[in-house]
Amino acid sequence: MTALLLLSTRPQARGACMLEPLAVERMELNVHGPDPEIDRSPIWAVVYGRYLYLLGTEMFWPGIDRKDRFRIAVVNWPELAADLGVRLAGRAIAGLPVDIVALEAKELANEKGDFTMLFLGGSANKDMNGTLSQSLTRWQRKGDRRALVLTDGGNVDGHDVIFKRMKVDNGLALCVLTDAEAMISKSLDLPVHFLQKRCP
């Protein structure tokens, strides 16, 4: 959902142009609750979706030839999981059909399987960050987890890569932070293009 409301310009009667909202598509706006809104806004789901897909297709995945599915888990950001689902419908990554798994933060802790990519949403939110860290730690203890763990800006214990949003002079950008040791332990390397997007 990325479109806004429009006001109708249809003539009801000559000269009568009252403001009458015509809903095209509408985003939810949480006026009263805590503020995960920018963190997980639908438009940024689209932006992250594009970067994740591109990273998935450009990166070398060791041992991928022994797998039958390319599994992407999206934790705590259903819009992003939905966007990826639409984007990847009928497409393959690394020659494999793609599964998109949408999880709540607490569900991750109980997840038994491994993934190829694991993306954590809402990580910049202080309250959410703690929950994500706990769930990720519990999930990683269940076995040899090789998934590339990414976050949307927050530093979550056990992460490999952070895709951080930032304002720049000419607009907006995503920059990249990596945990080098974690990456080496999984024999993972970011593609050069992504390494060139390191955060200042």
Binding site: L4, L7, R10, P11, G171
Partner: protein, 308 residues
């Protein structure tokens, strides 16, 4: 003559027989300006029988005599021509419409005390309105390369309305037409999301900007332009090629659109600081732009306005 006035304005549903009876009975008990000569009366009788072409020939004959001095004669010609215009399908390029208007204007020239005003005003108003309808219909033929006849048709509508009332304010209809042209272009932009949206978007911006220059309904013009501008940013980002440089460039291009949308919404709110939809939209755009402070500001206003 309320029945005749209403039916004339509605054009197609005009009951000719009622009109003619009205003309005859009214003229019998009125002064010089409502007088009818024998040839004009004969034309009326032909029209009454549905013989519009014969009636037209007859009224032309009347206008070749001293009956041409009577405003009623010109009105009857205008009426017959207007009826023929309708009978022939109300075609946009029919010369009958302009001929009818010319006759009505001749009638007005000779009707200094406006005794026939209740009759020719709805007739002329109807003919003028057909230009407005045609202008709106012509929006569908507009392309980024070809403007089409919309503006010319609207200008003719304005001329006719101004002939009826020199103080008539064209702004509301003009703004509405510009908004409709803008909306039509933006619809095309949306339909061509992945290829060719750009020229249509530019055309839509042009029309909405023109509309926003006018005071009338400015908040709507600016709000809708803001919404379309935001959506264009989303479209362009979605359409970017799958490589990192293209995506980064598209994100920056989208951010420029979103910033412009935010500016327009700020202006919309400055016109009406209780416009909750504008706050909602600005909140959404602020999320895209990572403007947390502005988002909080919008939320505070929405809460105050009872939204959310």
């Amino acid at each position: 003559m309320p029945v005749m006035t209403a039916s004339l304005h509605e054009g197609v549903r005009c009951p000719t027989i009622q009109l003619l009876l009205a003309v005859l009975s009214f003229s019998l008990c009125s002064g010089v300006s409502l007088a009818q000569g024998p040839i004009t009366r004969s034309a009326i009788e032909l029209a009454q029988q549905g013989e519009l072409e014969q009636a037209e020939y007859r009224i032309v004959s009347a206008l070749a005599t001293e009956e041409a001095e009577q405003s009623m004669t010109w009105y009857v010609q205008a009426y017959i021509l207007k009826e023929r215009f309708i009978q022939e399908g109300r075609l946009p390029d029919s010369p009958l419409r302009e001929q009818a208007i010319a006759s009505a204007l001749q009638c007005i020239d000779r009707d200094s005390d406006r005794a026939l005003g209740k009759w020719y005003e709805p007739l002329l108003g109807y003919l003028g309105d057909t230009y407005l309808e045609d202008a709106r219909m012509a929006i569908g033929s507009m392309t980024p390369e070809i403007e089409g006849p919309t503006i010319a048709l609207f200008n003719r509508y304005v001329e006719v309305q101004s002939a009826l009332d020199p103080d008539w304010d064209r702004q509301p209809e003009w703004v509405l037409l510009l908004q409709q042209m803008g909306e039509a272009a933006m619809f095309e932009a949306k339909e061509r999301e992945k290829s060719g949206a750009g020229p249509w978007f530019k055309l839509g911006v042009e029309h909405y900007r023109s509309a926003a220059l006018e005071e009338h309904d400015r908040a709507r013009s600016m709000y809708n332009l803001a919404v379309h501008t935001y959506n264009q940013g989303v479209r362009e980002f979605k359409a970017a090629e799958d490589n990192l440089d293209a995506i980064d460039a598209a994100l920056n291009a989208a951010a420029a659109h979103w910033q412009h949308a935010a500016d327009l919404l700020e202006q919309t709110i400055s016109f009406d600081d209780r416009n909750s939809v504008a706050y909602e939209a600005l909140a959404i755009v602020s999320k895209a732009l990572l403007n947390q402070d502005r988002l909080e500001w919008c939320k505070a206003h929405l809460k105050e306005l009872g939204g959310g």
